[in-house]
């Protein structure tokens, strides 16, 4: 049933965003997220929101998929908006009753926060839409490699992430197999209340744990056989090279950040 699972939400494509160096993408995403939080006025926020929308358009990721990534945050959006409207006071009062006042400032803050969250989600999901999990792990390893001086084992962390990604489909298949095996033995997984169902999962998770440990053991053997001794002295087949487009993207993003700071300065702050 789940043989065709793909991990992450990578959307294959050939846009500029897909071709950007994953390390640069990671850094730029971080930079833009910081920039979003620098925004104080509607104009600066507008600039970054516009950037996000244009980037989404360039990425060739269908709008439907982008909206799908916004779906889980609808509740958060509504919640923050309501709280902001109720608790922020100032400016013209639009409505006042039962001790609740809806003011100009409250409405502005609510809209501002909502745009901010949406932009944040668009930018960060663009990263995962245009980069495969493997490339992302690789990029994380390389971007974080300066942390080695603090004795953080970046390579080990990245290897763990790669292996986790590699074994998710395998373990899902395994769960499927165990569930079928237990059903064949008369296990009832679908009826009863929450507690009963949770109890029914025990005979699934115990074999899964056991087999996972066995797998890990064998995998360790296999890795040793292939001369894996950790990150020391390892080379990589796929070298990442920063191209002209990566530097152009960096310049563009820095310009946007600068633009945001300038616009903050000239226009009235909302927050």
């Amino acid at each position: 049933m789940i043989r065709d699972i793909t991990i992450g939400q990578y959307y294959p494509g050939k846009s500029v965003l897909h071709r950007l160096d994953p390390r640069m993408k990671l850094i730029l995403t971080f930079l833009l997220i910081v920039t979003i939080f620098l925004c104080k006025s509607f104009f600066s926020l507008g600039l970054i929101a516009l950037t996000a929308v244009i980037a989404a358009a360039i990425s060739s990721v269908p709008a439907k998929m982008m909206l799908k990534s916004l779906k889980p945050i609808v509740i958060i959006l509504v919640f923050t908006a309501v709280l902001n409207i109720i608790y922020t006071e100032g400016g013209t009062v639009y409505f006042e009753k039962w001790g609740i006042a809806i003011t100009e400032k409250g409405v502005n803050t609510a809209i501002f926060t909502m745009i901010r969250i949406v932009t944040l989600v668009i930018i960060s999901s663009l990263l995962t839409y245009t980069t495969t999990p493997t490339m992302l792990t690789d990029a994380i390893e390389r971007v974080l490699s300066p942390l080695k001086i603090f004795k953080i084992k970046v390579h080990t962390l990245a290897m763990m992430m790669t292996l986790a990604l590699r074994f998710i489909p395998t373990l899902i298949e395994e769960i499927d197999r165990i569930m079928n095996a237990q059903k064949a033995r008369g296990a009832d997984l679908e009826s009863g209340g929450i507690i009963q169902r949770a109890k029914a999962l025990v005979p699934i998770f115990i074999p899964l744990m056991v087999s996972s440990f066995r797998r890990a053991y064998e995998l360790a053997f296999a890795m040793t056989c292939r001369c894996y001794t950790g990150g020391e002295g390892r080379t990589r087949m796929k070298q990442m090279k920063l191209a002209f487009r990566d530097f152009s993207a960096l310049v563009l993003c820095l310009a946007i950040t600068a633009g945001v700071v300038v616009l903050n300065h000239f226009f009235e702050a909302v927050i």
């Binding site: 790669t162 990604l165 890795m223 292939r226 001794t229 080379t235 087949m237 796929k238």
Partner: protein, 283 residues
């Protein structure tokens, strides 16, 4: 042919030798084994479950350490971690379960894993990976995800991973046990090609007679000892002795044996020839 690559010298191996639990019986998986694998050979190690054949394989590249005796590879004895590593550069290993030996999420990345560990130049790795994948006929699958491949394909990827390390010897520990007949055939063809065309020494641990027949030399293990050692013809003609080890003979051999025809028939073609020879006179 006579240059030795792997040498077992009075090797005894006991699982959990230092286990405190007295209820675990100390029973040796291998007892006083001495044998040598020559360079360029294609050796099949046969034996029923618990005969010590897998243990033999794992001793070949210092994954297990012998309880007594020594295993040396090209004269190197793995007494330090560095030397064990050196041995693993000479002897590669393919395991039974293809799922548990593939490390990366993309086929070509997995094949590159070994050479990357050896610290080889990126351009050279690229070349080796492409060559290795072509060698096992998996080049067209290089960008695929391993979990979407069939068992036989996964196992070939695992073999490519060893080829890319350019080891002189490959030990395969029941590589076909979890595969369907088609996957089994794919893997066997690949293994034979490695030996014949690339001159890689192959040690194939198996319990399939029909695979063992394809080797140059067959070692039969029973109770932790090699009991027979010779060419497939020499080994498989001794039907009774094989039965005593809990093994069967290839079906063609058995048929001819039961019919009282010539001994030393190993495969279907040989069987057909033999039958034609006998019946030919009657027609």
């Amino acid at each position: 042919m006579s240059e030795k690559i792997i040498e077992f010298d009075n090797v005894t191996f006991i699982y959990d030798a230092d286990d405190e639990d007295a209820s675990v019986q100390e029973y040796p998986a291998l007892t006083d084994v001495s044998l040598a694998i020559n360079k360029g050979e294609f050796v099949a190690v046969l034996g029923h479950n618990g005969s010590g054949k897998s243990t033999l394989a794992k001793l070949c590249n210092a994954i297990l350490e012998p309880t007594k005796g020594t295993v040396s590879v090209k004269g190197i004895v793995p007494d330090t971690e560095e030397k064990a590593d050196e041995i693993r550069r000479i002897v590669g290993m393919v395991f039974q379960n293809p799922d548990n030996q593939i490390v990366a999420t993309i086929v070509e990345d997995d094949v590159a894993f070994g050479p990357e560990n050896l610290g080889i130049e990126p351009s050279e790795i690229r070349k080796r990976v492409d060559d290795a994948l072509k060698c096992v006929n998996m080049y067209d699958f290089r960008h695929r995800e391993p979990h979407k491949l069939s068992g036989g394909q996964k196992q070939r990827v695992a073999i490519a991973g060893v080829i890319a390390m350019q080891t002189e010897c490959i030990v395969l520990d029941e590589p076909t046990a979890m595969l369907d007949p088609m996957g089994r055939d794919e893997v066997m063809q690949t293994v034979k090609r490695l030996n014949k065309e690339m001159g890689i020494t192959v040690v194939l641990v198996t319990h399939f007679m029909d695979e063992a027949v394809q080797a140059d030399r067959v070692i039969v293990m029973d109770g932790g000892r090699p009991v027979m050692d010779g060419t497939p013809k020499e080994v498989f003609t001794q039907v009774k002795k094989l039965r005593a080890c809990g093994l069967d003979v290839p079906q063609s051999t058995e048929l001819c044996h039961n019919l009282g025809l010539g001994e030393g028939v190993l495969d279907v073609d040989g069987c057909v020839d033999e039958l034609v020879r006998v019946l030919g006179g009657a027609v």
